[in-house]
């Protein structure tokens, strides 16, 4: 189980829940299991351009992106980039 924390606007789209505990082998599997996955991914399955994802504080891009294994990861944070306004 890994803990996933989402921004407040996404929480408002998920009955107010900001934190989720989700099982999954890869980062992509966990994020796709969120009830707000449609607001995180575009229609081609890519992460929205103005979102960053951190796994235990490390930018997911540095870990191999959505296919990266979560192994012993504790917390995933979904963060709106400053470029998103």
């Amino acid at each position: 189980m890994v803990r996933v924390v989402v921004p407040s606007m996404l929480a408002a789209q998920a009955e107010g829940r900001q934190r989720f505990s989700i099982d999954g082998g890869t980062l992509g599997e966990v994020l796709h299991a969120l009830p707000v996955a449609d607001l995180i991914f575009n229609e081609r399955g890519d992460l929205n351009r103005h979102l960053n994802v951190y796994v235990d504080g490390i930018d997911a891009h540095e870990l191999g992106g959505l296919s990266s294994s979560l192994a012993d990861a504790q917390e995933i944070r979904v963060v709106a980039m400053v470029s998103g306004g």
């Binding site: 408002a12 009955e15 107010g16 009830p35 607001l39 995180i40 229609e43 980039m81 306004g85």
Partner: protein
Amino acid sequence: MTTAGGITEMWGKPHLPMRQNRLDRIGTAPVSCLHSTEARSAIGVLALVGTSKGLFLLQGDEDRQRWLVDGPLLEGWGVYHATRDPRDGMMYAATNHRVYGSTVQRSGDGGRTWGRSKKIGLPEESQLTLEAAWHVEPGWPDEPGTLYLGAAPGVLFRSDNGGETWEVNRGILDHPTRPRWLPGAGGMCCHSIQLDPRDRRRMYAAITAAGVFRTDDGGESWTAINRNVAAEFLGDPHAEVGQCPHKLLLHPARPERLWQQNHYGVYVSDDHGDSWARVDGNGLPSGFGFPLMLDPGDADTAFVIPERSPEYHYSSGGQLAVYRTRNCGDTWQLMADGLPKQAWSAVLREASAYDADSLYFGTQSGSFFALTDGDRWVEAVRHLPPILSVEVTAWSG
């Protein structure tokens, strides 16, 4: 899922309940209208005001002098358009966010809770992706659950399950003239969808900057209907497509008559758009503008809010003003009583509405105006976020 009004599980989990904000949260009250938190009158008008930061519901009493405000609902979302389906009372909102993308949200309990559509997208082979959701239009009265969604890049969707899922219209998506379409400053948006109340197979779609299109076969094929409509930014100013309609309206009692506020002028058609006459001379300070309003009781009457020019995008002469024609554009008269004398303001394409009794519009500077008896405008609310859209419906309570 336990929300009121018949929203079912297909719409997923409800969002947070709306906050019961009242006028005292809005800030400064306009000088022209005292806000009230007293009991609502028995009948009046409900305005759905979409802004860049959420949706506001404005309830006006019968004479439109006193208004109550709820909101923001859908906080943080840019509400490009919101409407109440007259067939079942459902509210729909075309919502967009720079980070979280575009979707349609629906409420069956007057805005208290919302659910959103399943992911809206375009076929991969089109090499297009959804850029913005612009306008939700309820279908004909005898097709409950059918809705149309205008979106960017120049696409039209249809839903037959109350907005749970959306299917793109292939006739528009694959239109042979698409390579000649251009995006306007707000993208290549399909913003106006008009259904002929007398012909279930005829409807219209206006796309910036592609032009106006009509289907006579229920959406299978679409004909560009832009004859005599100027497109001075093109090499051929009267090209088949590439025009920039800013707003298209069909007269509900005389559906062969169409009105169009275009990038270059105001136009009227009396033959379902087969030909157009430009009618923005004789009293209009400018042919450039976005909003358009009609009088359901008189097909010769229309209202526009001109802006100085495409290069400036604010009110002509620094005065916010509505202009009315009562003779199909032969002459135009100023209607500015109650509007600010000095205002470098702008009203967006979706930010005006009309009903049998009045006219309504909202500005990018966050003011909402309603026309009251004696042709006097009342600033019902001010200091909202930039207003993107306005729709009105009757309410009683």
